[in-house]
Amino acid sequence: MNYADKFKKTFFTENPVTGMLLGMCPTLAVTSSAENGIGMGLATTFVLMGSNLVISLLRNIIPARVRIPAFIVVIATFVTIVDMGLQATLFELHKTLGLFIPLIVVNCIILGRAEAFASKNSVLQSFIDGLFNGLGFTFSLFILGTIREILGSGAILGMTFIPENFRTVLLFVLAPGAFITLGFMLVGMNRISKALGGK
């Protein structure tokens, strides 16, 4: 496998968020800060790696007719593990991501990779595909979260850098700010993708 090519694809030209516009719900909902973005991204990465691994292992056993329910059971299992694991270890982060962790189940990236990649490729390749796509997703969420946090709360990774009496643009931590920032991010990423010769 060509890792450089895989990196270029999953981070830029075919990035889950900015290239394929998948998983918009968590992308827009949790990225009010960089930390939340990373948290959500890594949780999704874990699920992606796990589900890709297991689905690739079972790819010759699962009957085609019921592959979607089978995939969903596998994905839901991993999501529940993440949900309980986060509650046990990173309780504060779980409180802010809260509702959106169970919703990873319906994140199109995961079912998309299971259907398009893991069900047709070897275990190792699928595992790496999960890792790269997850990190690409995390990368986009981190950038989106960082921009919104700087503009909306005047902070980077939770550290406030603006003076006490300065105002921040509240809109950016709210839902409309997510859409506006994502729009401009798509413009930038399309530029980069073009430069990289993606499409």
Binding site: S32, L58, I61, I62, P63, A64, R65, V66, R67, P69, A70, V73, V74, A76, T77, T80, I81, M84, G85, Q87, A88, T89, F91, K95, S119, G152, S153, T168, L170, V173, L174
Partner: protein, 193 residues
């Protein structure tokens, strides 16, 4: 894929996957149950420590006692000194009708019904505006007040409470929540007489 599998195989595979999933989750659940419970308890403990700050040598039950107030569910922890006398109450109430939703808050009262402090457990108010209810100076004006020495409304509604700038609705819900906590105290006192 592509070929039609027999119905039996389909069922068998799905059942097996579901079984493995269930076993795995049962195991993870067993491992994480204790830490999760501990985390949740620590969260409540932290809140109680804040709202009952200043009371020393007290103990309180593990779980809150449920009570119905103002047509809404509430709960309270009765804190006792070592000699068995009531030291105060930590009351969990809902702040009704916040800007986005109801929110959960805890109000600490001493044995005479004076407010020690307040703590917001869980909320979805606007960051930068409504979440000012967790900050000074808004919080400070509640300390030391009790049911009868205050008109429990924001100033815009001809009450005594200074609302957070540009977040009247949140302030109103918060004030109502505190008022509910004081009603809980009143009910408890009347029961004891």
């Amino acid at each position: 894929m592509g070929k039609q599998e027999s119905g039996l195989k389909v069922i068998l595979v799905l059942v097996l996957i579901a079984m493995f999933s269930a076993i795995l989750l049962a195991y993870v659940n067993q491992v994480t149950r204790e830490p999760i419970a501990a985390n949740k308890k620590a969260e409540t403990q932290k809140a109680i420590k804040v709202v009952l700050a200043g009371l020393k040598d007290i103990s309180y039950p593990e779980n809150p006692t449920d009570i119905q107030i103002d047509n809404s569910g509430a709960g309270y922890f009765e804190a006792k000194y070592d000699n068995g006398k009531t030291a105060g109450y930590a009351v969990i109430v809902k702040g009704p009708g916040g800007f986005t939703n109801d929110f959960d808050m805890m109000v600490g009262l001493d044995s005479s019904g004076k407010i020690i402090d307040t703590y917001v457990l869980d909320h979805k108010e606007t960051p930068g505006l409504g979440d000012g209810m967790q900050k000074e100076p808004f919080k400070n004006q509640f300390r030391g007040r009790q049911l009868n020495d205050t008109e429990w409304k924001v100033k815009k509604d001809k009450g005594d409470i200074d609302a957070i700038t540009a977040a009247t609705i949140t302030s109103r819900a918060f004030t109502k929540g505190v008022w509910r906590a004081l009603q809980v105290y009143k009910t408890l006192r009347e029961d004891q007489k």
